[in-house]
Amino acid sequence: MTEKLYQVETEKAIAKIKEVEAKTVCIQLPDGMKPYANEIEAELVRATGVRVLIWLGSNFGACDIPLGLERMKVDLLISWGHNKFVKRVEGW
């Protein structure tokens, strides 16, 4: 899969799932990785047995995390392609 070009680092995802004892995770992927969502899901399920929900929508940046995940009882969101975002409260 994309591992050739970009490191997917599923081992970090698996470690986090185990650490927080997540039962349901949401995975959010940049457009280039979306075709491999099934492979990532399979790897996470194989290693942890977690239920994976794939975010269908946008992944514009770390400023764009899915809303309403609590209602779906999601314990952990794993978002690929970005790092921590520091919001400027006074505007751009």
């Binding site: 995390i65 952990l76 975002f85 400027r88």
Partner: protein, 251 residues
């Protein structure tokens, strides 16, 4: 709040300047070096190469990033880079145009535009970027600024995304422009197909991702300007800037 784990998906390959970039970039004394998150952790070789060819570089940690030299697509206003040093051109490392286009937009209000040299490690190629990339958008954007100043009923788009939501700064518009009537619209992703249903709106202000005001300009039939440009619309229109110069040129 749900736990969140961000994974950078760093580039697996070698990150270095291709020969084409090395040959070209020697015309500059000093460059400002940035990269997208997939490449920013592997800039050592690039920095070495610049030293070898005698090109100085400066960089910074932009406001919204976690690491030095990282460029975000929303760094489309120069001050968010927090780069004080002088330099001759930008050198961007990464694939795609989305991120380096922020550097083009970020110079719209300056007198002159510095060139952006994009070195793509995947294609091992160099690309040059400048005002031509966005000339059409800037012309429309200038028109939207004029429209904003002349119209009375303004729709302000506020996203509910916590990372982008700017409701409080948006409310300050009422003090700055007491003669205008502002209506506030909330949404997650901006629903462009809904804009025309609100036909009482004369023109729009975007307070979500600043790239919406630029890249999606043509989706707003009644025009749109970004929040911080709305505050200073008259001043922006009066400058001897790239924006105003490019708008006077014919296609």
């Amino acid at each position: 709040m749900v736990n969140v784990l961000f994974l950078d998906a760093p580039y697996s390959g070698k990150v270095e300047l291709c020969q084409e970039t090395l040959d070209y970039i020697t015309k500059f004394k000093k460059v400002a070096l940035y990269a997208s998150v997939q490449f920013v952790g592997k800039l050592e070789r690039v920095e070495e190469q610049l030293k070898e060819i005698g090109v100085e570089f400066v960089t910074s940690k932009a406001d919204r990033t976690s690491v030095k030299s990282q460029l975000l697509g929303c760094d489309s206003y120069h001050d968010s880079l927090r780069l004080e040093d002088d330099f001759d051109a930008y050198l961007y490392i990464g694939d795609g145009k989305f991120h380096p286009l922020a550097l083009v937009y970020g110079q719209k209000d300056l007198k002159e535009m510095k060139e952006i040299v994009r070195n793509d490690p995947l294609q091992e190629k160099m690309f040059l970027m400048g005002v031509d990339e966005i000339a059409g958008i800037l012309r429309k954007y200038r028109g939207s600024l004029v429209k904003f100043l002349s119209k009375s009923v303004v729709g302000v788009i506020v996203t509910i995304k916590p990372g982008q939501e700017q409701f409080r700064p948006a409310l300050a518009l009422e003090e700055k422009f007491p003669d205008k009537k502002f209506h506030y619209f909330i949404d997650n992703n901006v629903s462009f197909d809904q804009l025309e249903n609100f036909n009482f709106i004369d023109t729009w202000i975007n307070t979500s991702c600043p790239r919406v005001g630029f890249d999606d300009q043509e989706k707003f039939q009644r025009g749109v300007v970004n929040l911080n440009d709305a505050y200073f619309a008259a001043e922006i229109l009066a400058k001897g800037s790239v924006l105003n110069r490019v708008s006077k040129k014919k296609n």
